[in-house]
């Protein structure tokens, strides 16, 4: 059982810089929370405050209901995996993994047995006698993980543990970490700037920007229902297309006109939601996968035709990423069916799916 609570946590450095502002997060037992955001968004600072490596300027952090603001890292019952792995270079793998137990005065035999068990779990038994210098990046990452597992901590903290691995290894390690979380059933807090890691691993993800929590929800909900323009643009690759637009009312119906000359009728089921923004500047957002090639339109969508010129075509094999421009030069990106043969310069009547668009208030950048 281990819950984690951030209550109005703020971190302000001596030079006045506010790294984290008024952070509130409530973590249930066995959750896998991913803190995600661009660099400098305060995600690592939040993690370090939870670890006790950084002072908390104001607010409180609770682990299992106990306020830990003034508890030293060693008494918080946490384990942390660092981005650089931070292995002790003068110790063997086994010594690295057993160090925390040794400090606690665990009997040698038990240390050995627990280290071996953890090593087995991670498939690094044959490395136990080696020094960190003799290991590859992937192996080091496992040892760092092993060092954390051995302790069976209340909370598992990870600071971009996969960012030093190559792409293939990273995908593999991602899956392994998710499995590990299921197997050991401990609360995980995981920091990353990689949205693919956030989407695939977290039971919930917390998107941060400029020290402020933007949204916290399950990955699917954050992706499908972003709270604001930042979250909408941050998750998804290529990111969501945004068009500045104006809502106008015409005989009871709402029409969206973008500055680029695009006109979109608002579907009936959203009329009530948007009516109060009639006449105000808004931002229309649609993900690249919400745009279809006229020949490959699936059933069940609510298409509206948009004329655009293809500029750059990127063949990915399983999809085609195409950069389009509207008549006025506004650019956007579409992710199309790979069977569509598109040549740069071609003018297409693309189909925008109106069941999956987003509308934001331009002034507040919040979703409407």
């Amino acid at each position: 059982m281990s819950t984690v609570t951030f209550e109005k946590v703020t971190k302000q450095y001596e030079n006045g810089y506010v790294a984290v502002k008024d952070l509130n997060i409530q973590l249930e037992d066995k959750e896998f929370l991913v803190l995600v955001g661009p660099s400098g968004c305060g995600k690592t600072t939040s993690l370090r405050m939870l670890a006790g490596l950084e002072d908390i300027s104001s607010g409180s952090i609770y682990i299992d209901g106990q306020r830990v603001n003034n508890v030293t890292p060693k008494d918080r019952d946490i384990a942390m995996v660092f981005q650089s792995y931070a292995l002790y270079p003068h110790m063997s793998v086994a010594e690295n993994m057993g160090f925390s137990l040794d400090l606690k005065g665990t009997p040698k035999a038990e240390i050995k047995q627990r280290v071996r068990a953890a090593a087995q779990q991670l498939g690094i038994e044959e490395l136990l006698d080696r020094k960190p210098k003799q290991l590859s990046g992937g192996q080091r990452q496992r040892v760092a993980l092993g060092r954390a597992i051995v302790r069976s901590p209340a909370v598992f903290l990870m600071d971009e543990p996969l960012s030093n691995l190559d792409a293939k290894l990273r995908t593999q390690a991602r899956a392994e970490l998710s499995q590990l979380h299921k197997k050991i059933g401990t609360t995980f807090v995981y920091v990353t700037h990689d949205q693919a890691e956030a989407m695939t691993m977290g039971t919930r993800i917390a998107v941060m920007n400029k020290g402020i929590l933007q949204q916290i929800d399950t990955p699917q909900n954050v992706y499908d229902h972003p709270n604001n323009i930042f979250v909408a643009g941050f998750l998804g690759s290529p990111s969501m297309n945004f068009f500045e637009a104006q809502l106008s009312e015409q005989e009871g119906a709402l029409l969206l006109k973008t500055n680029g000359g695009l006109t979109v009728p608002i579907p009936a089921n959203r009329l009530e939601r948007y009516r109060e923004f009639s006449g105000k500047p808004v931002v229309f957002g649609i993900r690249p996968e919400g745009i279809y090639h006229p020949q490959y339109v699936p059933p069940g969508i609510d298409p509206v035709a948009v004329q655009a010129t293809a500029k750059v075509v990127e063949l990915m094999g399983y999809e085609v990423i195409v950069y389009f421009t509207l008549a006025d030069g506004t650019e956007f990106i579409a992710r199309l069916d790979p069977r569509a043969k598109i040549t740069p310069g071609e003018v297409l009547a693309l189909q925008f799916d109106l069941t999956r668009f987003h509308l934001f208030d331009k002034a507040s950048e919040q979703v409407i």
């Binding site: 670890a51 006790g52 490596l53 030293t72 890292p73 060693k74 946490i78 384990a79 942390m80 660092f82 981005q83 650089s84 931070a86 292995l87 002790y88 270079p89 003068h90 160090f99 925390s100 400090l103 606690k104 060092r147 302790r151």
Partner: protein, 327 residues
């Protein structure tokens, strides 16, 4: 006044001629080789042009004297009669010499142990001080003072006047102010060696601290934080993480200090002249050679000193090579 100007000019001239001369020699030889020799020979000769002069200097001023010292150590006082190992027998058995060796061991253990130990502790502590550069320069400052200069300073600190007269020595002034009798720091055979050793520690701690401090800074923050999360106290981090990680530097610093201590002479010479059981090997050697004019004995002591230094140097070089390999 005129005299002084002439002196300054002379000094400048010496610098110009000295460094200018060296440059001229290298430049001239280089041109000579470039112009006079065919391509193949040129490549072979060129390195020697640059290495040669320093090899000649080292040979003339280091290698040959060493060999000659070794040779002289088997002869009598004025180098006229072969005496075999008699000088070595003296050097290793005479009561005066045994005291000398005892002193040297004291110097070695205390100076190396304390200056490296203190240097290490200060290096770790100073890492967390706000005014680190200032504190560091303060501790490093004695390093800039010559041994003789330091000795002069410490003579004032240790100065002794009989009870009743004004104490001009700092230490005795404190001792008397506290109501005790003044102590003859440099005369009392129980403490005079330690009084000298303190000077060397004062001089060397700064050196150790600066080198060790850069090593301490080389320990990644992540590793320290990982240890903190793993449950280590600050003392455990120092003992089990920091010290093992900077061990290579500690060894290099320690061996450097050992070599320096083996060569120590100036402090003893200035403070006590080696009297009252304070002689060390180097000061004893000078005494035998130039005071007593016994070249045989002096040379034998010099050879012993040389042999004592060799293992330390070898260890140092090995360590250095290993470190280079690990880069």
């Amino acid at each position: 006044m005129n005299n002084n100007v002439a002196l300054v000019l002379q000094a400048l001239l010496a610098i110009a001629l000295g460094s200018g001369g060296v440059i001229a020699v290298f430049y001239g030889l280089n041109i000579l080789v470039e112009k006079a020799l065919p391509q193949r020979a040129k490549l072979r000769v060129l390195p020697w042009i640059y290495v040669g002069p320093s090899m000649l200097l080292l040979g003339g001023y280091l290698v040959i004297p060493t060999i000659r010292t070794f040779y002289l150590s088997f002869f009598n006082g004025n180098s006229t009669e072969f005496v075999g190992l008699k000088n070595y027998l003296f050097a290793l058995t005479a009561p005066d010499m045994l005291i000398t060796f005892r002193n040297n061991i004291l110097w070695l253990v205390l100076v190396t142990g304390l200056s490296v130990g203190l240097g290490l502790v200060i290096a770790v502590l100073i890492d967390r001080v706000k005014y680190e550069p200032f504190a560091k320069s303060l501790i490093f400052l004695p390093m800039a003072i010559s041994f003789v200069g330091a000795s002069v300073i410490w003579r004032f600190i240790y100065a002794y006047r009989p009870l009743g007269s004004e104490q001009i020595g700092l230490l005795n002034a404190i001792v008397v102010a506290l109501g005790f009798e003044p102590v003859g720091w440099l005369v009392n055979r129980g403490i005079n060696n330690f009084a000298l050793i303190v000077i060397m520690i004062w001089l060397q701690t700064g050196f150790c601290m600066v080198l060790l401090s850069s090593a301490v800074k080389g320990v990644p923050d992540d590793v320290i934080e990982a240890a903190r999360v793993d449950g280590a106290s600050e003392l455990q981090i120092f003992r089990r993480i920091t010290v093992p990680m900077i061990m290579p530097t500690v060894t290099v610093v320690a061996t450097t200090v050992v070599v320096l201590v083996l060569k120590v002479f100036d402090i003893v010479f200035v403070m006590t002249g080696g009297n009252l059981n304070t002689d060390v090997i180097a000061s004893r050697m000078i005494k035998e050679m130039f005071n007593f004019r016994n070249f045989g004995r002096g040379s034998a002591i010099a050879v012993i000193l040389l042999i004592a230094v060799i293992p330390v140097m070898v260890a140092n070089i090995r360590r250095f090579r290993q470190q280079e390999l690990n880069r």
